[in-house]
């Protein structure tokens, strides 16, 4: 019985954005409880729905319990072999600790988004850094710090032009409780608005 060799999904291999390397390496970092894993899953899901291959990984175990949290997403128009991010092309950092830890490893042309409240000092870098009031927007404009992850996603997707806003919204709604659908839609929009291209 030969195993089915059809590997990862390649629905639309031409669609990869020309501006980004392929595979595209994305790292979402911050602290536990900020919902970064979920953000990673949503992003991967949205990309999948647009015909990319996508892979999402994260740290597990006691290490994952303490302060730091990290989700990785890789997008590609081709089969994704090595599953880890080696050199992020896009980095989201929602805490100072995360920023300090991961910024040094980003690629030269990387897009880096940091929270303007929690990341007070951005280390010297050649990358393209956006400082956005993500937490504040979540807390003050939306009244729930909980949705900072979705705000961040909205901003990130707008800035990096990864997937269509519709696909992202669909992916968000698939993964959040129905009762919070509206809140999350708003969070996504608020995030998009933070980025003025």
């Amino acid at each position: 019985m030969p195993a089915d060799k059809s590997e990862q999904v390649q629905q639309n291999p031409e669609q990869m954005k020309q501006t980004w390397p392929d595979p595209l390496q994305i790292q979402l970092s911050g602290s536990g409880g900020q919902g970064l894993i979920l953000a990673g899953i949503i992003l991967a899901d949205a990309a999948l729905s647009e015909g990319y291959n996508a892979i999402q990984t994260q740290a597990y175990g006691p290490e994952a319990r303490g302060g730091a949290s990290r989700a990785e997403v890789i997008l590609s128009s081709d089969l994704i072999d090595y599953p880890h991010v080696q050199r992020p092309d896009i980095l989201l950092a929602l805490t100072q600790e995360a920023c300090d830890k991961y910024l040094p490893s980003v690629s030269k042309e990387a897009l880096v988004i940091v929270d303007s409240l929690l990341v007070e000092r951005v280390p010297e870098t050649q990358a393209n850094v956006l400082q956005l009031p993500i937490i504040q927007t979540a807390k003050q404009d939306l009244g729930k710090e909980m949705v900072a992850n979705i705000v961040a996603l909205g901003a990130l997707n707008r800035a990096a032009a990864l997937v269509s806003p519709e696909a992202l919204e669909k992916a968000v709604l698939k993964r959040v409780p129905k009762a919070y659908a509206d809140l999350n839609k708003k969070a996504l929009e608020a995030g998009e608005k933070l980025v003025r291209l």
Partner: protein, 392 residues
């Protein structure tokens, strides 16, 4: 009803659950352990709606016992665990071999030995999966490299267990278990499913443990009226304990023989650019993903590197090695262990080609560069002959 050929973002563990359900598994008995727990959790959630049964047992010994019991009652059954639990299951795993009870045991490997590093990837249970229980016994062990393949191989594991009336081990690693990626879900109605051979005739001629040395005898479910005796003692063809040397010999040889005789039905591996290769990487599980990257990097540098990626670890894919060894091509065997399957590669290569182990035991994935470096250092043993067969 799910859409045909739907694509879903899934963890390897989730793909395993869905595949098991699609393959007809309707009983899961388990005990939580990282990094396999999501499989139990998925089963607890999804089995009941299908009329299936989930039970969390008091430990892993009871878990495997419960699935063997359920399988005796005719229900396709599965458990999932990791190293420590897999070690505990060894006695009853041997029982399932001896009594020819179909069942699937998933072992999501983590860093060992002992409690080790529960959330770190490793491939340290490969030899245990072959030899962990006492006495001579057959072993079918499959190992996926992606969420998609976890789906495929889970279905295959269920099928092979039914086909050969023997436990089948799905040996995953933590990376494959926990990463999320797109899985194309086949239409479950089009999946080729296998059912264990069941008896046709009357009770008189019923020989649930009989047959030639390569034969898989038919077995009745408990409750079907065949009134079968099942025992882990050496037993004759109807299941009665026996101390006869002849009976012993025939049984022990048939248990392994029924699998060995059908190696070709079981063994599968993928060849990548081995046709023109000067050196070959032999890798499985998530290590093969890194190796594929290394292969691409090497090819980009003009190095003719190929890859053999077995999805069946046991029975060992001897032919794949034979072909390469005959040509004297050096083989790099990266493993997240101190060198386990490489021993078998060495055995088959019989000195005809260099076999180079590469070990990583620090709880991290190999990175592509270190495999690339290792490939570059390979030196062929003899002058190579060119291959007749062509890989991908």
């Amino acid at each position: 009803m799910r859409e045909l050929a739907e694509v879903r973002l899934m963890q390897g563990n989730e793909a395993c659950v869905q595949a098991a359900l699609d393959a007809g598994v309707r009983f899961f008995g388990g005990y939580p352990i990282t990094p396999s727990t999501e499989i139990a959790e998925g089963m607890a959630e999804k089995l009941p709606a299908l009329g299936g049964k989930f039970i969390q047992m008091e430990d892993e010994i009871a878990s495997i016992a419960s699935i063997i019991g359920a399988s005796l009652a005719g229900v396709k059954s599965m458990t999932a665990t990791s190293g420590p639990g897999f070690s505990l299951m060894q006695e009853n795993l041997g029982y399932a071999c001896m009594t020819e009870v179909p069942c699937v045991i998933v072992n999501v490997q983590r860093g060992g030995p002992s409690t080790g590093r529960p959330t770190a990837p490793a491939q340290g249970d490969v030899m245990q999966a072959r030899w962990g229980t006492h006495g001579d016994h057959p072993a079918i062990v499959l190992s996926p490299w992606s969420a998609q393949e976890t789906y495929t191989l889970t279905v295959k594991a269920v099928n092979l267990s039914e086909r050969f009336r023997t436990p089948v081990i799905l040996l995953m690693d933590e990376v494959v278990a926990h990463l999320r990626e797109g899985v194309r879900m086949p239409d479950p109605r089009q999946l080729k499913l296998i059912e264990r051979p069941r008896p046709q005739g009357g009770r008189e001629n019923y020989r649930p443990f009989g047959g030639a040395l390569d034969e898989v005898p038919a077995v009745a479910d408990f409750g079907m009226g065949y009134r079968c005796n099942v025992t882990g003692l050496v037993h004759d063809d109807v299941g009665h304990p026996s101390g006869s040397p002849q009976v012993t010999n025939d049984l022990i040889r048939r248990l392994s023989g029924k699998v060995e005789a059908h190696r070709d039905e079981i063994i599968d591996y993928e060849l990548t650019q081995t046709g023109d290769a000067d050196m070959v990487i032999f890798a499985y599980g998530s290590t093969a993903r890194t190796s594929l990257r290394a292969l691409k990097l090497a090819r980009a540098q003009g190095l003719k590197v190929g890859m053999i990626r077995p999805t069946t670890l046991w029975p060992f894919p001897e032919k794949a090695i034979e072909e390469v060894a005959e040509r004297g091509i050096p083989i790099l065997v990266p493993e997240m262990n101190l060198g386990q399957l490489v021993l078998e590669v060495e055995r088959i290569a019989k000195g005809r080609s260099l076999v180079q182990p590469l070990s990583r035991v620090d709880g991290e994935l190999f990175n592509p560069d270190e495999i690339l470096e290792a490939v570059k250092e390979l030196k062929p043993v003899k002058s190579r002959k060119s291959s007749k067969k062509e890989g991908i």
